[in-house]
């Protein structure tokens, strides 16, 4: 049995035939090759697969692909624009908010959801908002710093200096 799913992913309309048991995260990774969304567990704890569905953060392993029919999905690949990186991406980079990078896409998507709801979050609010996203490398400290810094940029358009320097790419 095959089900048909129509959805918009990162601004593009997509049509996919899937097995009914296919998860949204599998549709994104396997059918659309959007491998920036990761799978870190099998019990919906880790949050590495967090994407936005109709503007809200969702663990894409908790949702069947067919449930995403008719929705608008944003993944980490859809966060940057022609003007450049999303402020959260820039802030994670600037503040060393990632090490191995595996949790990072989900963490950024969860943080983006927070900043869409709250423009001036406290550290406690930030830590609460990313409770469903595990990171084993950073101890969360620089992630919190990065989210706080991104909030400032999104609110004021100005980034506070971090002391980090660009080493070239």
């Amino acid at each position: 049995m095959v089900a048909h799913v129509s959805l918009t992913v990162n601004g593009k309309p997509r049509e996919v035939d899937v097995e009914p048991r296919r998860l949204l995260v599998q549709l994104l990774r396997e059918d659309l090759d959007l491998t920036g969304t990761h799978v870190g567990c099998d019990t919906s704890q880790c949050g590495a697969c967090t994407v936005h569905v109709d503007g809200k953060a969702v663990k894409s392993c908790t949702m069947l692909a067919v449930q995403a029919d008719g929705t608008t999905v944003t993944t980490i690949e859809g966060m940057a624009t022609a003007e450049g990186l999303h402020p959260l991406q820039a802030a994670f980079w600037e503040h060393h908010g990632l090490q191995c990078g595996f949790c990072t896409p989900g963490m950024i998507m969860a943080a983006a959801d927070l900043l869409a709801r709250t423009t001036e979050p406290t550290d406690a609010e930030i830590r609460h908002a990313i409770e469903g996203n595990f990171c084993r490398c950073t101890g969360y400290q620089n992630i919190v710093t990065a989210i706080r810094a991104a909030a400032v940029v999104m609110r004021t358009g100005v980034a506070a200096p971090s002391g980090a320097v660009q080493g070239g790419m």
Partner: protein, 800 residues
């Protein structure tokens, strides 16, 4: 002139791809006609296999192949680091096969593999395999496993003993214990942990029938070692016929050092399919059952000393749980990397440690972040607190009185660090422990702690403070030590680097080390940019593929910055020297007259008569004007074997508040003063410390792998295993002292494990301190609300 980036907080080169979803982890790789593998795992902790019927599974949709143990012609996996160092010591070795044949020794041991068109079809087919098991009694506790009447796992290991190993002066220590004013005895459990890198393991095997060559993509810390071990010990395939590629690795923490059963499975599966690539990706619950765990020691500690605070002897007996069969370096961790550094940063004259390695019906235990040193630090730092409390002396003061003095280096500790082949010595080469401790205590407000405790008490909280003054051993290690027969891999431990300079002046550094999130692409570029006077953007760092990188032993044991970086610096020196010779030729001067400043090569006294590094590379690549006898092209490889380990140290201080009503422990402040020597990139150093500290805090307060008595893994998923979350943690407060390592040109020491080594003991000491009013002397970890609350109730009468 290029900006010198060495020592600066440089943003990481890796991050562009990782923040954009463009990282490439094993599961992100799709190859043409790729098939998928799933592994059936034993539901029993201990059982004989009577038979396996795969006939139904073979008929399931999409199934291409089913393999059982008997189909796999390879040897068992290797065990490369026995307990050693003394004559006549026996290791009773049993290692896993790719798939179990006659018996299973833990829940999760692989018994069959299905290869199918899709991962879902492979998983479906697992359910159609029928395995006949004869269940046997199981034992999961290392101490109980050695007792008479315990279930026996292996014929060659009576009483389930892998080895009985000892180090130190037995008679001298016994005499010191007997003569001591005070002896404190305590049983300490260092509980089993599940490491939990966010990316599980996984691999893709690809056999090329045209060349008879094997390629494997693996989430590994050690692609070169894996090629060597697979070739020489498991598959019987020549080493040059195997290629190992480790793409972006999503965290490892030791778990990805080892040789795992799935490597030969996917390679053989690909061969059996005539060369179709075969992918296996580990599920998280599978990761909990089939990838190594860490720690799991039961230790009987005796700490002896005088009433004036001098500790005169430490004696321990440790039961180290190594699992149902041995992992690659399992026995090396609780012996060399634990007992030999047991006395930490203290000048304790007598140390004796007995370690019993034990088989149990649990998954194998091997190196997890810190690997032996967190266990040692926990023992010695709990010992310091227990001893201080017993003699009624301030805990910091006891440490101060026992530190190795700054003028006491080089220091050979009494637990046998010095032993190595050919009389070669390992010794603690440097340190200055008091300033780091004083700084940490001051930051933490140690002097005013009693007042703070009283204030907390008024709020219904019991405040506790704990410290951990740790010593780390990084660099793993001089080959003459680690490679010595009977103590170590039986292998070398050097590192390698190749530097190529393209005609355009762009530089490629190729390393034998293997990153897993530490930012090697950034730090090596910082170092080589500094060495060659060129901007970082002109440098690319390559790694992770045995085809095209020089042999290297990989990244673990915090060895990359001290050993790998020095290899890179040596390669750069060779490049600079050749460029200098060519500059002399171009400038018609003698080589001795050429001076080098950054990227400029000029005649002594005439800086305007110069050639730049780029001009030299260009001319030397074209080579039409090369002098007689000079090879064209700038391409140099260097190998480096360190003469000694490096010895980071520091003091961490934790402040916790225990809730009177619930037993809930809140970590309210965490101060860390670390001395990791000079820093290549302080931002990365801080990040390594943050992550390590939180892993160690996790052990102290929340984490624990729990098996039922019959060997079922009760903490079998992320639902059941308490990984630290952001909201459970305060902002960590870091500071430093800087004592450069004398052993390498950068003066760096390594920082990958320091946080995890220090923090567990600091937090455990703080909680035990908080519970002093209840008469609590020691509680085992994890110090969950249940554990703490129970202790508070049972001793309520003792409350001050």
């Amino acid at each position: 002139m290029a900006i010198d980036m060495l020592g600066k907080r440089v943003k990481r080169v890796e991050d562009q791809r990782l923040i954009s979803g463009a990282g490439r982890y094993v599961d992100d790789i799709k190859l043409q006609s790729m098939a998928h593998c799933a592994i059936l795992r034993s539901p029993y902790a201990h059982a004989l296999i009577r038979g396996i019927d795969t006939s139904k599974a073979r008929l399931m949709p999409g199934v291409l192949d089913v393999m059982i143990g008997a189909d796999i012609p390879y040897n068992p996996l290797p065990m490369a680091w026995p307990a050693g160092g003394s004559a006549g010591l026996r290791n009773n070795v049993n290692t896993p096969r790719a798939l179990a044949t006659d018996s299973v020794k833990w829940t999760g041991e692989g018994v069959a593999a299905v290869i199918a068109e899709t991962p879902e079809q492979a998983l479906d087919a697992l359910e159609a395999i029928v395995v006949g098991y004869d269940p046997l009694p199981a034992v999961v506790d290392a101490e109980k496993a050695t007792l008479a009447g315990a279930p026996q796992l292996h014929e060659n290991a009576p009483n389930n003993i892998v080895f009985e190993w000892a180090v130190g002066d037995k008679a001298g220590t016994a005499a010191a214990v007997d003569a001591a004013d005070v002896v404190v005895r305590q049983r300490l459990v260092n509980q089993r942990l599940i490491p939990n890198p966010m990316e599980t393991r996984g691999d893709i095997g690809l056999y090329n029938p045209g060349t008879d060559e094997y390629t494997i993509w693996m989430s590994s810390q050690t692609p070169h070692i894996q090629r060597l071990l697979l070739a020489a010990f498991v598959m019987g395939v020549p080493e040059h016929k195997i290629r190992c590629i480790s793409p972006d690795v999503g965290g490892a923490f030791g778990t990805k050092i080892f040789t795992y059963a799935d490597y030969p499975i996917v390679l053989l599966a690909s061969k059996r399919l005539g060369g179709r690539p075969v992918k296996w990706i580990e599920g998280r619950r599978e990761n909990y059952q089939a990838t190594i765990h860490g720690r799991d020691h039961i230790t009987y500690l005796e700490v002896a000393g005088k009433r004036d605070g001098e500790v005169t002897a430490i004696r321990v007996k440790t039961f180290a749980n190594l699992g149902g069969r041995l992992s690659t370096i399992g026995p090396g961790i609780p012996t060399t990397l634990y007992a030999r550094v047991l006395s930490g940063c203290y000048r304790i004259p007598h140390v004796y440690a007995e370690v019993v390695g034990v088989y149990t019906n649990t998954v194998f235990v091997d190196a997890y972040r810190g690997a032996g040193r967190p266990e040692a630090t926990y023992v010695i730092e709990r010992a310091m607190d227990l001893f201080a409390n017993e003699i009624g002396m301030d805990r910091a003061e006891v440490r101060r009185r026992n530190f190795i003095a700054p003028e006491g280096f080089p220091y050979e500790n009494p637990s046998g660090l010095g032993t190595a082949s050919g009389g070669a010595k390992i010794y603690i080469d440097s340190g200055n422990y008091e300033p780091a401790m004083d700084k940490a205590l001051e930051m933490a407000g140690y002097a005013g702690i009693e007042k703070a405790k009283a204030a907390a008490r008024a709020r219904g909280k019991y405040l506790g403070i704990g410290q951990s003054s740790y010593l780390e051993v990084c660099g793993v290690a001089p080959s003459k030590w680690i490679g010595a027969v009977g103590e170590g891999w039986g292998a070398a431990m050097w590192e390698s680097a190749n530097i190529k300079v393209h005609l355009t002046g762009k530089v490629v550094i190729t390393m034998g080390t293997q990153p897993q999130g530490q930012g090697h692409e950034t730090t090596y570029a910082q170092i080589i940019g500094h060495e060659l006077g060129i901007p970082m953007e002109d440098i690319v760092v390559q790694h992770s593929d045995t085809q095209g990188t020089p042999f290297g032993y990989g990244s673990y044991g915090s060895r990359t910055s001290s050993v790998g970086s020095t290899a890179a610096i040596k390669a750069a020196a060779k490049i600079r020297e050749k460029a200098r010779r060519y500059a002399a030729h171009m400038l018609e001067a003698s080589v001795e007259d050429i001076e080098v400043e950054g990227a400029n090569y000029f005649v002594k006294g005439s800086p305007e008569v110069k050639k730049t590094f780029q001009e030299i590379a260009f001319a030397l690549d074209l080579a039409f004007d090369a002098p007689e006898g000079m090879e064209p092209y700038l391409d140099e490889t260097a190998y480096y074997d360190t003469p000694n380990c490096t010895w980071p140290f520091g003091t961490h201080v934790a402040l916790v508040e225990v809730d009177e009503a619930t037993g809930q422990v809140e970590l309210v402040r965490y101060v860390a003063v670390d001395d990791v020597g000079n820093k290549i990139n302080p931002m990365i150093v801080d990040g390594q410390l943050h992550g390590g500290i939180v892993q160690g805090v996790g052990q102290a307060l929340w984490e624990g792998a729990v098996y039922s008595d019959d060997g079922q893994l009760l903490s079998g998923s992320m639902l059941d295993y308490a990984i630290p979350r952001a909201s459970w943690l305060p902002t960590l407060e870091l500071d430093e002292t800087v004592t450069p390592s004398p052993v390498n040109p950068l003066g760096v020491k390594g920082v990958g494990e320091a946080g995890a080594i220090a923090s567990t003991a600091a937090v455990a000491n703080a909680v035990n301190d908080a519970l002093k009013p209840f008469g609590v002397k020691h509680l085992d970890m994890p110090l969950t609300p249940q554990v703490v609350w129970k202790a508070m109730q049972s001793t309520k009468g003792a409350q001050a």
